[in-house]
Symmetry: C2
DNA sequence: TAGTCCATGTGACAAATGTTACTGTAGCTA
DNA sequence: TAGCTACAGTAACATTTGTCACATGGACTA
């Protein structure tokens, strides 16, 4: 059994053996470096990727190049947007940037469509992915629609800590500001208040979550 | 041919005859009155509805009962959220309220799952619906993430005019404020500015779009 | 006609957020 | 060590949005 197969089986335990064999036979293994843009708003979608290792962030771009974080992609997941795009030439509505070096399997569109009918486990994966991503985006809507920046920041920090599995968040205030579409000064200000409330401890290039 | 069949064929022209026959055989026709809540956040989803007539609005509820408009549903459409929910007991993440009296066909969950495999035209409809709704929600994210209230109001008015197919929008400032999650005074203020710029004419309970 | 809603207009102020400008400081390296 | 750069802190101010208070005026009804 190849290493890719092992990794596929580990990260996508619900895939049937048939499906994994097909992936092996027809799809290519690829790696991406931190900072790489895997998919960009407006580009035609030609394939989707299954993440085996690393982390991607999916964000929406504003007219003036602002970024707005939607969610992270991790091993065992796939880009929802590219999973469902009719055979027509569909362009991407989002940008995907590598946060941590990524190992992934690339799957051409044509195969995906076929698999939906032939592989129950693929079908279920797609449905599940789509539903959970939709919910995640709805939660993002909640945050920006109903909550002020201080709450959003808190939510962001918690999500980040959860994603990396630790309480130390290695991000500059500038980076956070970018993802929440605000300015560094605002983030600094709010973080200071959070520190006064005992919710975080601030260090250079690191925020220690106390909750 | 029954009236429902005719209406189904007209509003869902891509459905195969087989599919329409199945719908006829197993699904029930229902009507809802303006103001009815068809689906509420937290409720279990037991079925989906295909709209034949009227208009629904789909919105997200805040912790304190605030509303936030996501999109409208019109004849020929279906509620995306309820289209994809695994057989498990899934609760709704949104609320659907009738804007204009609705005629619809109700489809039980169990059938939907079967049809995905057996009816290509249903499968394509589901995929298409999901994709377009996802995009619509992403556009909503853009609006609240990147744009100020004046732009959002303008976008809202245009979308509303498009949905009803006319330039006269019969809404009070209060109703608009609710859907954009702001206050009436803010809407009044911004509308006045828009009137000064010649973009609208304001009347009692009506806003005339000039663009 | 007087009274009562309801929708709207508007001024004054409060609070949140965005912007500008400047300071300090840690870490790197020439 | 001096100089550079990136990061962080913060004061001061502008702008946007939210809130309160109150006025106006149309539509309807007792």
């Amino acid at each position: 059994m190849s290493e890719t197969t092992i990794s596929l089986k580990k990260n996508f335990p619900n895939f049937s053996n048939d499906l994994i064999e097909e992936i092996e036979a027809h799809c290519s293994f690829q790696t991406f470096k931190s900072g790489d843009i895997v998919m960009r708003t407006g580009q035609y979608i030609k394939n989707t990727i299954l993440i085996l290792k690393g982390q991607l962030k999916i964000y929406r771009e504003g007219d003036d190049g602002e970024e707005f974080l939607l969610y992270y992609l991790e091993p065992g997941q796939a880009c929802a947007i590219s999973l469902i795009c009719s055979s027509k030439n569909q362009t991407s509505q989002i940008t995907a940037k590598v946060v941590e070096d990524v190992e992934a399997v690339t799957i051409p569109l044509t195969l995906m469509d076929k698999w939906m009918m032939n592989h129950r486990s693929w079908y279920e994966f797609v449905i599940y992915t789509y539903r959970t991503r939709f919910e995640e985006v709805l939660e993002v809507v909640d945050n920006i629609a109903f909550r002020a920046m201080d709450e959003r920041l808190e939510f962001y920090l918690k999500r980040h800590a959860k994603a990396c599995g630790c309480k130390e968040i290695n991000l500059s205030h500038q980076e956070i500001a970018l993802e929440l579409n605000t300015s560094r000064e605002v983030i600094s200000r709010l973080l200071k208040k959070m520190e006064q409330r005992g919710l975080v401890r601030l260090h250079r290039n690191q925020i220690e979550l106390m909750i």
